[in-house]
Symmetry: C2
Subunit: 149 residues, 2 copies
DNA sequence: CTAAAGATGATACACTATCTCATATGAAGT
DNA sequence: ACTTCATATGAGATAGTGTATCATCTTTAG
């Protein structure tokens, strides 16, 4: 882990604490565990994957708390939700990520990421003319990955 | 309904029949009902909505058959799946639609559609350089709609 | 120390989608 | 028309994800 990562995580932690304070919530052991496990998740994760990860790492925290904390992290802007067209939600932490999108292999289910090239610039004026106030966007490509050709 | 719509639907029907034939499946009453209801669904629909719609219209077809037929329609290219970041799947028929994307209001949950401006042209070369063969893409904006401002 | 607010975990619940399997249906051959 | 057999269907079971409930525990404030 690079030292910049440690700084980034610290920064995310502050964001989380600020959010909790604003809502009058406490930074409890359970929430710390979830924060920690989320920060160390590799790439995207589904809530149930995080439940397993916590269990494997012998972190004593319940499923309910994990789900609840994930939602707090989302509200705090520490993670973001990504819709992959599947039946469950996906999240990823934001701290060491550049704005990017995802391309999914329809064969093996893997993802590759690629940078955001700012296409929202083109669409924003159109949507705003329609009276729609844009907060964000995501783009999903799908196809066949290199390995599966 | 415009006459062009009728032609479009007929065309979709042929596509469906061709697909079934290729898979050695029959165009049964159940599949006809689902095809029909899907064609007359207004905009996007979730499978469970279609189940309700069929029930309201007194079409005697089971939930299982509806789900199964939806998947056949998907494979036949008559409908497409769209991930709206929700917990269930969404579909929409293709026949009278121009390529478009969706913007979701985070407040009331409604959608507006807007035309595809061809941003995939910019991304395809990048992804193909990575060895990823692009089949398609979708883009989701989210924000606040005119009514909810 | 006490009271109030908040947090947790176990469990129940709701919902979506799929699977199973017994029965029904349709196409083809005799 | 009768038989055969692959396919289709419906009812209900099952699996998976996420939320709601509520009794119990913990923290904070006074
Ligand atoms: Zn692949
Ligand atoms: Zn990503
Ligand atoms: Zn709205
Ligand atoms: Zn649409």
């Amino acid at each position: 882990m690079k030292s910049t990562d440690r700084m980034d995580i610290k920064n995310e932690r502050l964001k989380f604490e600020r959010h909790l304070k604003e809502k009058g919530l406490r930074l409890t052991t359970g929430r710390q565990i979830v924060f920690d496990e989320v920060m160390h998740a590799h790439g995207h994760f589904a809530p149930e994957e995080l439940v397993k990860q916590c269990h494997q790492n012998k972190r004593r925290v319940s499923r309910a708390t994990i789900y609840r904390s994930i939602n707090e992290l989302l509200e705090a802007g520490v993670i973001r939700k990504t819709a992959f067209g599947e039946k469950h939600q996906h999240f990823e932490h934001i701290y060491d990520e550049k704005p990017h999108h995802h391309a999914k292999c329809l064969h093996c289910g893997s993802y590759i990421e690629f940078p955001d090239l700012g296409e929202d610039k083109v669409y924003k004026p159109y949507l705003e003319k329609e009276g729609f106030q844009v907060i964000g966007h995501e783009m999903h490509f799908y196809g066949i990955c290199r390995k599966c050709q």
